[in-house]
């Protein structure tokens, strides 16, 4: 079974996070590192502030109970409330259907990012675009978002809602800056 190491892959600290990084070609790299080492290499903790606990000793049951709070999926179905932030990882597969139904097909967060988290991630050593991309999901979602914003802008202008139109334009500007930063790397020809 996959045993989660309880030491950082880069130093000797034992407070280990389960981290992930999305590369420009949209592949995901996962590794276990401490907060400092992860930040240094542009990795983002999967669970901000929640250290992943070693789960090897109860490998047989981990699929059914959250390793952090012990909630089982059966319990969740009974009460309709998750137990802790880590439940989202523990029940990722089972939650997909529920999210699909209740979120009109939305699968990725688009929107606000905690300000301090964003600052910390963008002022690190990695390229700002890269860290932001990790936080904001793939290029495909940004393209979808841009399309939806464009549609809203058209409607706002049509209805002469100029204050709202200006706001949408600002959003488009932000979104397209991010998309532009990532898209050159996304194009197959760009790297060659």
């Amino acid at each position: 079974m996959s045993d989660v190491p309880d030491k950082c892959a880069h130093c000797t600290k034992d407070k280990v996070f389960h981290d992930l990084k999305v590369l420009p070609d949209n592949t995901v790299v996962e590794k276990h590192a401490c907060e400092d080492c992860a930040a240094e290499q542009g990795f983002v903790p999967l669970q901000v502030g929640v250290p992943a606990k070693p789960t090897s000793e109860k490998a047989g049951t981990t699929a059914r109970a959250c390793p952090e709070c012990g909630l089982t999926f059966a319990q969740f179905k009974r009460v309709g409330r998750l137990g802790c932030p880590a439940c989202y990882e523990a029940f990722e597969r089972q939650l997909t259907g529920i999210l699909d139904r209740s979120q009109e097909g939305g699968t990725h967060h688009v929107g606000k990012i905690p300000r301090r988290l964003l600052r910390e991630r963008t002022s690190g050593t990695g390229e700002p675009g890269e860290s932001l991309e990790t936080l904001l999901g793939g290029a495909k979602h940004r393209a979808e978002r841009l399309k939806a914003l464009g549609e809203q802008l058209r409607k706002a202008v049509e209805q002469e809602q100029y204050e709202q139109a200006a706001r949408i334009r600002d959003q488009i500007r932000t979104a397209s800056q991010l998309a532009g930063g990532g898209s050159s790397a996304d194009e197959p020809g760009a790297k060659a």
Partner: protein, 381 residues
């Protein structure tokens, strides 16, 4: 005035002589001010943000100590913000006083009841509370509802953008030192997966009496449902919509940004319903004026003469009177009088105005008396 000092000594909070009870009662909350864009149809706009602290169990699975810690940390952070702050610990708060906060829409009925935690024991001792700002009650932060933090921002009339701005500011202020549970793909993590993502809910409180009279209300409600909006009554989930007041809110929180969700409501859905109601009002004024005048003046007549009123009947009367005032079919009642009564006729407001002593039978008599007094014709005075 900062009342935090009175709220640091545990379960005695909310006791007999809490100054906040009279402090709140004499004031008009933001959502009843009757101002702002499209105030003829839209009573208020509300933005709610659900947030949880990182690395801690959500309220339903939290221990008493966890909840205590959340409460301490969030209140300490809010302590630095603004003056006239009112911080209320709901532990041991007498129900009538708590209900006052529910009626003012500062807290949910669920928060008052406690038992967000799925633990045994006295629900009323669950650490939970609310922080608001006196004067306008535009902002309220509920602590240890189903999520650790629920920020609520209100504006009179149809003004979701500025409600969102204020909610954002307080959100940033809390996050300045506290880590939120945030996931790169799923966004803000919430106890219920239906809130995950932005954790944002945008609502507007609409007054749709003309659609009710013309019989088009069901169609409008169905249209809202089709556009994935939830339709609720005056006091939220499962409550009656006496007076033809309805709350409309978005249900999607994942995959679309706050701005996109807001614009959908602010540019597309709500303007259509506002226009639909206004059109019905015009139709009534132009082609069925006598019918309209009959409904509205019967309501005013009852309000000026009834000796017993239930809160539901009072709200029905006030809804029709409000329509009459807005359309100038009634010219001797002011809108603030109507709005003031919408709150004053609620059970806890009424009881506490009488020293908290009213039985439900006496309450109906007191309600009718209050209504008659405040609705007195200016001409007759």
């Amino acid at each position: 005035m900062n009342q935090d000092g009175q709220n640091q000594d545990g379960p005695s909070q909310g006791g007999q002589d809490e100054p906040w009870v009279s402090e709140l009662q004499g004031r008009c909350p933001e959502w009843l001010r009757g101002e702002g864009p499209a105030a003829d149809v839209v009573l208020s706009s509300r933005v709610r943000l659900a947030r949880n602290l990182a690395g801690m169990a959500f309220t339903p699975r939290a221990s008493q100590d966890d909840s205590e810690l959340v409460m301490t940390r969030v209140r300490a952070q809010l302590e630095q913000l603004g003056t006239d702050r009112l911080s209320i610990d709901l532990r041991g708060c007498p129900k009538e006083r708590g209900r006052l906060l529910v009626e003012r829409q500062l807290i949910s009925a669920a928060l008052l009841a406690g038992r967000q935690r799925q633990a045994k024991g006295d629900a009323n001792q669950d650490p939970r509370g609310v922080v608001t700002w006196l004067g306008d009650e535009r902002l309220a932060v509920m602590i240890n509802e189903e999520d650790h933090i629920r920020i609520q921002s209100l504006r009179s009339g149809f003004d979701l953008p500025s409600a969102l701005r204020s909610a954002d500011e307080i959100d940033d202020a809390i996050e300045a030192t506290l880590d939120y549970a945030f996931h790169p793909r799923l966004g803000y993590l919430t106890a219920c997966p239906t809130n995950v993502g932005t954790g944002a809910r945008f609502s507007v409180m609409l007054h749709l009496p003309a659609l009710a009279i013309t019989g088009d209300l069901e169609r409008a409600k169905r249209a809202a449902h089709d556009m994935a909006l939830a339709v609720r009554g005056f006091y939220g989930e499962g409550t009656e919509s006496a007076g033809d007041f309805f709350q409309l809110s978005n249900q999607t929180t994942l995959g679309r940004s706050e701005g996109m969700l807001l614009d959908e409501m602010a540019l597309e859905i709500v303007p259509q319903i506002i226009e639909y109601e206004r059109e019905s009002r015009r139709k009534l004024m132009n082609t069925q004026r006598v019918l309209l005048e009959d409904r509205v003046h019967r309501a005013l007549g009852t309000a000026r003469s009834a000796r017993l009123l239930s809160s539901e009947e009072a709200m029905k009367l006030l809804g029709l009177i409000r329509l009459g005032v807005v359309l100038r079919v009634i010219d001797d009642v002011a809108l603030p009088t109507v709005h003031g009564l919408m709150l004053a006729v609620q059970p806890a407001h009424l009881s506490l105005a009488h020293g908290g002593e009213l039985e439900s039978g006496d309450r109906r008599a007191a309600r009718a008396t209050l209504m008659r007094d405040r609705m007195k014709s200016k001409g007759a005075g």
